[in-house]
Amino acid sequence: MADNTQRNNVKLHTLDRFREINSTFPKTSQLLEHKRRGKKVFGWLCTYSPEEIMHAADILPIRITGYSQETELDEGNAYLYVNNCSFSRSCLQLGLKGEYGFLDGVVGGSTCDGARRLFDLWRNYIGTPFHHVLTVPRKYTEKAHALYYHEVAQFKKHLEDFLGFEITDEALHKSIELYNESRKLLRELSDFRKLDSPPITGAETMEVLNASFHMPKEIFNQWLKSLLEEISASGNSHTGRARIMLIGSVLTNPEFIKSIEKQGGLVVTDELCTSTRYWGDPVLLEGAKSPLEAISRRYLNNFPCARMFPSDERFNRIIDFALDFKVDGVISQIIRYCVPYCHDLPLLTKRLKAQGIPTLALDVEYGTPGSGQIQTRVQAFLEMLEAKRK
């Protein structure tokens, strides 16, 4: 059963460049250089904050994430209390420690209680020159789209007033193109993992994704292109005891995925807001009145978070992925106190079971490497899946 996922595979050199970014974030040489050239960097708190608009305003939008591993969150606990998810606490603590001191703005949404409170406390205790929180509807109705469009337009207006210049449709078009390109490439990367023995592991993919929202998309796209070429040239192949889909809210620590793959669970796809739900859908200009409208539609219609209603929209997408990637089992990693995901779990487990897909539910703290008890559960789950197949 041991680790047979790594046998005689060639090294992917571009991966190290992504690893480099992730190991130095937030204070990466790229970001510091960007600042040195007098350009602005904004941080966003949730996948419902439209990056294209910031980018079109010549701002570099990066995702605010917490410590790369599980850490004592004494500051975070003191401000956000222990019963807000450790992701929010981790982000806030990193902010309180001044690690995000270079940010010129913070953008959040009324997406979940944790994200909202993180925004509230950020504004009150860290203070960044620009703050904006968008009302994000929880439905997909036309009225909801109208409301969200209104909100996105207001955000654009607020940004223009702050910067003192207008964000042109032309600039928006350019940004949309760039971000769609990025999404297309990430989809190609994910398609590799549909193969019976994929050329890239889940942990490796996580490295790419972490970098994707922490660096300029212009550079990221180039690097990812060369990685894709490297992969197809490598002829690498990874095999395991079972094909696993990872679901749940935020996950950025590749060690967690590694700990599953070490035991022979091949993580082939996921429903993480730091992965599939981030690059999920492209911005579609066809049939849109304006680039801004296209953006607002995309962000509301994108692969949904558990906050959206009806939940079946999300459930069906998960099931489609599970079948498409031929997964044997689903591992749900929910960060403690992620209430929207906690509520969905019973309903989702039931629907997956109906598809003959067993679920292992893990509640974790943000940044966990998946050690100790988690290992035991994962191993038992894989043993169960194996036995079932026989």
Binding site: L80, V82, R138, K143, H150, F309
Partner: protein, 422 residues
Amino acid sequence: MTSAEQGNSKIKAIIRACRLIMRMNQALPEARKSEAMYYQMLINYFTRLLNARENGDFVAAHTVFFPAELIYAMDMVPMHAETTTWMTALFTGECSDILAAGAELGLAYEICTPHRGLAGAFALGVLPRPDVMLWSNMVCDNTAKSGELIMEICNCPGFFIDHPFKDSEYERNYLVGEMEDMVHFLEEKSGRKMDWDKLSEIVARMDRQIELVREVNELRKAVPTPFHSQGFLELVSSDYLFPGQPEAIEYLETLKQELADAVKEGKGAVSNERFRLMTLFLPPMHLMAFLEKISQEYGAVSVVEPFFTYWGEGRLDPTKPLESVAKKSYMIPEMRMYGPMDERALNSIVDCAKQYKVDGAIYYADVGCRHTCATIKLFKDTLNNIDVPVLTLDCDVVDPTATSEEEVGEKLEQFFELLEDR
């Protein structure tokens, strides 16, 4: 026990408890007339629910801060979900069964007990099965997410109202649209029609009701304060359960008169008022009696609850009923906590502290409530800046195993010693 009987067991328990309390109060010479009215209101509310089936009524279960005005206007029987859970805890002091049932469904410990218990109660079949489930994202992720699970458990249709975050005109119109859609949905499911005139009457009364709560709170500013610590729960549930209902008006009028008299006579809720407290969030239900006792001992009394009884500005306009109901949802005291946490919200608690001459504040940190706990530091800092000490009590609103009298007693003692030592 037949499933029908069992289906009402918790409701019956609540009614029984209310009757008992009423009888006990009648024995007391000091008994408030309004208190008797309050319990009679509760008995009527839950009896209506109890008999809904044979009366052929249409039962609409709904989460907290859901516009129940619309349900009343359509002549349906409302069932306030969370209140039913916490009243179960308050009056029966026991809800491990429904919490366990919730866990059995696979609901994580992190989900707040009122909602874990709620789903559990429906799964156990100890609450009547509603004809329709109505919910909204007022006031948190729990209210936003509990509905679909309950729909599946009770296998009933449901409607979710998407309540926008900020109080802007655009967002209020969206909310009005949501409510219109829900009215159509309900008309279709129940075969009943919305009575718009009735809604206007309800809104008119609701406006009066808010005015009355404001007047009652004016009276509570008196030293000594006339209303006892846990009294505010009566004010809260009169809005939760009886928005724009005649009995609520009658109750509030009586209460107001009683308090006015007490103030005239200089009679305080506690015999020796020493500490005037601000209450932040909800005390654990199973400790109500204990809290009342210990505050009597120390002469401590809650005079203001910024997020439960301290209404925002504004009046309701019966000629625009839906708009008014939408407006109300941004006027409710809780909105200050739920909405954008800006200066407006923070100043309001400072104002409260000053107007009500508060000596200290007790912050009930409900482990299940992420909203309230995330602001502990923020509010504490804000209040400490005006030299108001704050006690943070870790607890759970309905789960008795979360906090013991010992722990709470210890902390309160430390707090009161701090106050008298100053």
